[in-house]
């Protein structure tokens, strides 16, 4: 018997995106015909502008309104809390699901060791640009997210470092119980990576299910509203925070500090102020890092092992 899924879509006033994705999601649920499947749109405008609009077009979609704009992570948590299905498919409104995407994901979670199931995510809808083949690397003392390209992009379920936060299936109650994404990564970026590393570290797995396909028209939401340099600052700040949260060997810590110290020196001498700003933003949140590390579950896999196993080519 298939598990029910709540598709939760945190959204700003992205009417065009919703108009495109909601009918596809509803059609998918109708095709699945699983009791308890549901669709929730979380109105993150803080102004409750989506309710009437969705009621008029998609009366089967529930709308949960945030009192203020809270951002993707908190809005998703609010939607997850309001949902009732067993699984939660977190979805960005700039994601366009292809038919038949949901059931293979739900089947993947039937394996209790799989914590997160990712569909195959086609960046901008292009078959050759697979966003979901993610892996992590430590290069020259710094953590990098890399895209891995298997020789075959066939139907085998593969381990991936993390699932894209805007298109992932998780166990809803567990997600809610753990408070959703780590707020350390506010306002955005790397919260999904953090979730994946956390699961791998705790001994679970994150997999990509190639049978389930969605298109991600990236930056369709944030990029349209936030200046590029601010997005870049959030990305670079969180890249540091992510590594600092999981660094668990003195050797890696030493290498990383040497690398970042050198990068700071480089940036300071060469006048690359933006890089110093990114570092300063991250360093301002050291206490948050400390709290996040304390809140980590018991480690099953050291970080180095996580990097090895959480690889589509592993």
């Amino acid at each position: 018997m298939s598990q029910s899924v709540a598709v939760v879509i945190p959204s700003l006033a992205d009417f065009e995106l919703l108009e495109r994705c909601l009918p596809l999601v509803l059609a998918e649920l109708e095709a699945r015909d699983v009791a308890g499947d549901e669709v929730l749109v979380v109105d993150d405008t803080g102004e409750a502008v989506l309710g009437a609009w969705i009621e008029e077009r998609c009366p089967n979609v529930r709308v949960v309104a945030c009192e203020a704009n809270v951002g993707f992570g908190p809005a998703l948590l609010k939607g997850a809390e309001a949902a009732e299905a067993e699984h939660l498919f977190a979805m960005n409104p700039d994601v366009v699901p292809r038919p038949g995407f949901l059931s293979p994901l739900a089947s993947a979670l039937a394996d209790s060791e799989v914590a997160v199931a990712s569909p195959r995510v086609l960046l901008q809808g292009e078959e050759s640009r697979i966003e979901s083949h993610s892996a992590l690397r430590v290069e020259d003392g710094s953590l990098r997210v890399v895209e891995r390209r298997p020789e075959s992009t066939g139907g085998a379920v593969r381990p991936v470092a993390f699932a894209v936060g805007g298109a992932m299936l998780v166990r809803r109650e567990e997600f809610v119980r753990r408070g959703g994404f780590d707020p350390l990564f506010a306002p955005f970026y790397f919260e999904d990576t953090d979730l994946g590393i956390d699961e791998w570290r705790a001994g679970l797995r994150v997999v990509e299910v190639p049978e389930a396909v969605v298109e991600h028209h990236h930056r369709g939401t944030i990029g349209a509203r936030v200046p590029e340099e601010l997005v870049q600052a959030a990305i670079e700040k969180n890249r540091y925070l992510l590594y600092w949260k999981y660094l668990d060997s003195r050797r890696d810590a030493h290498d990383h500090l040497a690398a970042i110290w050198r990068d700071a020196l480089d940036a300071g001498v060469a006048g690359r102020r933006e890089e110093l700003v990114w570092m300063a933003l991250a360093l301002e949140e050291l206490s948050g890092v400390h709290s996040a590390r304390k809140a980590l579950r018991a480690r099953v896999r050291p970080f180095g092992e996580v990097l090895r196993v959480a690889d589509p080519l592993a």
């Binding site: 951002g71 040497a258 110290w261 990068d263 020196l265 060469a270 570092m279 360093l283």
Partner: protein, 749 residues
């Protein structure tokens, strides 16, 4: 509040008024809690052009020196200033002067959204010749583009003259020879007289463009100030923008502690403190001092400038007239300097603005004797706290000094009336208030990007860090990394990390290596190009030789060509003359031919006529012969006609008689006579008689008409015969054409 002060020089490298004041203002602003970064161009041997070096001062402000030489390229200077702004992140930019910095600095501040103000100390915002003095030390108006254009050319002219050194824009007549001075004056004041006049249109155009740039930069400022009312008025009029007067302050406190000077029983101690520059009129003061009675006064001069020839000249002149040369001085030493001076002289030749030395003198309660200009009239109350004399008039200045020497009480009154002066701290406070206003206004006028609410706190943190100067940002990062290392339990020190960075390599090293490779490549390229250039030069020499040889050949050929040209020209001329003569001969021949044809035709016609005439003569001879016969016949005929006429006359007479008889008879018949008894004829008889009478009459008339007609015929025949004998045409032709070969022959006729 962080402010960038921008000025063209700063002590200890430049010590004139604006530079010294800016240093004092920076300290005063720092005392008010403002973070002050001063941007100053300076020649720094050994450093690359536009290299920047920051230096901290003890009183809490810092200066960034930018390495320049001569007149830096405006775009490079603007870029250097932009880099300074990016690094120092001021909240407001305060321009004290833009000399050697350029108008691009205003644009750089604008591009970064920074509020700007300009505090004018001279006419630089309107004119590059910021003293409004021509090179010959004559003044012009701020709106006079023509004068400015001529100044540009005059300086170009002076730049080419040896021996006047860095003349600082003006020269004295004695520095030039007569011809050069004449050329300079002509260039500045006349419509012609110098080859450089030809360049005036271009200079005018350049000055016009420069004026537009200046007005644009001045308009882009958020606030504009001037340090005297006079300057504020003039700049406002010239630039079409409001300019606010704001008096500068001085560090008055140490000067205020000085004891009042006393002049009794010793010579008057006259002092000059300022730049040793021509437009400051130091030579006027020395000329005036030379006129004073020896022993009545002393003169000491403090100051310096880059106008070395003038400085040396003034120093020599000072020695000549017995004045003391104090030389360069430090602002800190000013109280000591003024201690030994009773009166300050400001003999400026330019219009002046608000000389700091006047306020410093007043702070020390030393009266001031100054050239009279609208600006000095603002600072010195003539006869109250100082004395004004006609600008540039050494005799008048000498007279003023003599009077002051003679009247000690007057000096005391002047000294007592010296006004209090604005402190540098008060000025700094005014600026802080202005900065606050400008920053508030700019923030209010800058729309905030509409961000989702959950991003606002992050965006605020981001912007706060972006507004921090680079060194402070770096410092924060280093401090944070120290904490990170501690949290991770890593005990390495910064020195360790520095060693690791050096050991492992870095992007900086990569960049430097790459740059070094690029430099090597460029050096090789330059060397190769140098070699290529040498080769080209050698080839150029060879080509020059070849060219020279060819030129000589060419010259010879040209000479030959010229000779040929001349010869050909002469030939052409002869040919033309011959052609003309030939043409003339042809025409004459044609005329002769034509005349010959006519003559021939005429001759032929004459011959024909002659032939005809001969024939005619023959025929006439024959005709004459005939006529003679005819005449004879006619004479016979005339005789018969005469007889016939006589007969006809007789007949006529007879007829007339018959008619008369007939009429008489007819009358008798009608009255009753005749055959019938008169009066007895019947009417038919009468009618018959009448009819018979008429018929008889008609017969007679007809006979008469016939006779007349016969007579006419005879007459006509005789006339026709005469015409034939002596016709007009024959007679005319016979008279007109002489017989060929016998012109003397009388015409026949």
């Amino acid at each position: 509040m962080r402010v960038a002060l921008v000025v063209h020089g700063l002590p200890p490298h430049a010590r004139t008024g604006v530079e010294t004041h800016t240093a004092a203002l920076a300290g005063a602003l720092a005392a008010e809690g403002v973070a002050v970064e001063v941007f100053v161009p300076r020649f720094m041997p050994g450093l690359a052009l536009f290299a920047q070096r920051r230096e901290d001062f003890d009183d809490g402000w810092a200066v960034t020196w930018v390495s320049v030489q001569d007149e830096p390229a405006p775009e490079d200077m603007a870029a250097a200033f932009g880099a300074f702004l990016d690094r120092e992140r001021p909240d407001v930019v305060h321009f004290q002067h833009l000399l050697r910095i350029g108008l691009g600095a205003v644009d750089e501040a604008q591009k970064r959204g920074l509020p700007t103000l300009y505090n004018a100390h001279d006419f630089y915002p309107a004119r590059d010749t910021y003293t409004l003095m021509r090179p010959d030390l004559t003044a012009f108006e701020s709106g006079d583009d023509e004068a400015e254009a001529r100044c540009v050319l005059a300086r170009r002219f002076l730049d080419g003259i040896d021996g006047i050194g860095d003349y600082h824009g003006t020269v004295l007549e004695r520095q030039l020879n007569g011809e050069a001075w004449g050329t300079l004056r002509a260039l500045l004041h006349d419509d012609d007289g110098s080859p450089l006049h030809a360049e005036l249109p271009a200079a005018r155009a350049a000055v016009g463009e420069r004026g537009k740039l200046k007005r644009g930069a001045f308009a882009a400022l958020d606030a504009r100030f001037a340090t005297s009312r006079f300057l504020a008025r003039r700049l406002s009029a010239a630039m079409g923008r409001a300019v606010e007067w704001r008096a500068s302050g001085i560090d008055a406190e140490p000067l205020g502690r000085l004891q009042p000077a006393r002049v009794s029983e010793r010579p008057l101690r006259i002092g000059y403190v300022g730049g040793i520059l021509k437009h400051k009129g130091v030579h006027v003061l020395l000329d005036a001092f030379a006129q004073l009675e020896p022993g009545t006064a002393e003169l000491i001069l403090y100051g310096d400038s880059g106008d070395r020839p003038y400085v040396l000249d003034m120093r020599a002149r000072a020695a000549e007239v017995g004045a003391v040369w104090g030389g360069p001085f430090d602002q800190d030493g000013l109280p000591a300097i003024l201690t030994d001076i009773d009166v300050i002289v400001v003999p400026s030749l330019w219009s002046e603005n608000a000389p700091f030395v006047i306020r410093e003198a007043f702070a020390a309660r030393r009266p001031v004797i100054a050239s009279r200009t609208p600006a000095t009239e603002e600072s010195v109350r003539d006869g109250e706290d100082g004395i004004l004399f006609p600008l540039g008039d050494a005799n008048a200045l000498a007279e003023v000094l003599r009077e002051l020497i003679a009247d000690e009480s007057r000096y005391a009154r002047l000294a007592l009336a010296c006004p209090s002066v604005k402190s540098i701290a008060a000025e700094a406070r005014e600026w802080v208030a202005t900065y606050d206003e400008l920053v508030r206004a700019r923030r209010a006028a800058t729309p905030k990007p509409a961000l989702p609410a959950h991003l606002e706190s992050f965006a605020a943190r981001y912007e706060a860090l972006r507004s921090v100067p680079t060194r402070e940002l770096f410092s924060r990062v280093m401090e944070g990394l120290g904490r990170l290392g501690s949290a991770m339990g890593v005990a390495a020190s910064p020195e360790d990390y520095l060693a690791i960075a050096v050991g492992r390599g870095s992007r900086l090293r990569d960049g430097l290596t790459e740059d070094a490779r690029a430099i090597d490549w460029l050096t090789r390229s330059v060397r190769e190009q140098e070699e290529a250039r040498k080769e080209l030069e050698e080839r150029s020499v060879w080509y020059a030789d070849q060219t020279s040889g060819l030129q000589q050949s060419l010259d010879a050929l040209e000479r030959e060509r010229d000779w040929h040209k001349e010869t050909r020209a002469a030939d052409e001329e002869s040919r033309s003359a011959l052609d003309a003569a030939l043409e003339e001969a042809r025409n004459a021949l044609a005329a002769l031919e034509e005349e010959r044809g006519w003559l021939k035709e005429t001759l032929e016609a004459g011959n024909e006529e002659l032939e005809w005439l001969r024939g005619r003569v023959d025929s006439l001879d024959e005709e004459r012969t005939g006529l003679l016969v005819d005449r004879e016949a006619l004479e016979g005929h005339f005789q018969s006609l005469g007889a016939e006429l006589e007969q006809l006359t007789s007949n006529d007479k007879w007829l007339r008689g018959e008619i008369a008889e007939l009429v008489r008879g007819l009358g008798a018949d009608l009255r009753g006579g005749g055959a019938s008894e008169p009066g007895t004829l019947t009417t038919p008889e009468i009618s018959d008689a009448l009819t018979a009478g008429r018929r008889g009459l008609a017969r007679i008339v007809d006979e008469l008409a016939w006779r007349r007609k016969e007579m006419a015929v005879v007459r006509s025949a005789s006339e026709g015969l005469f015409q034939r004998v002596v016709g007009g045409s024959l007679a005319y032709r016979a008279r007109s054409w002489p017989v060929e070969g016998n012109p003397e022959q009388e015409p026949r006729g």
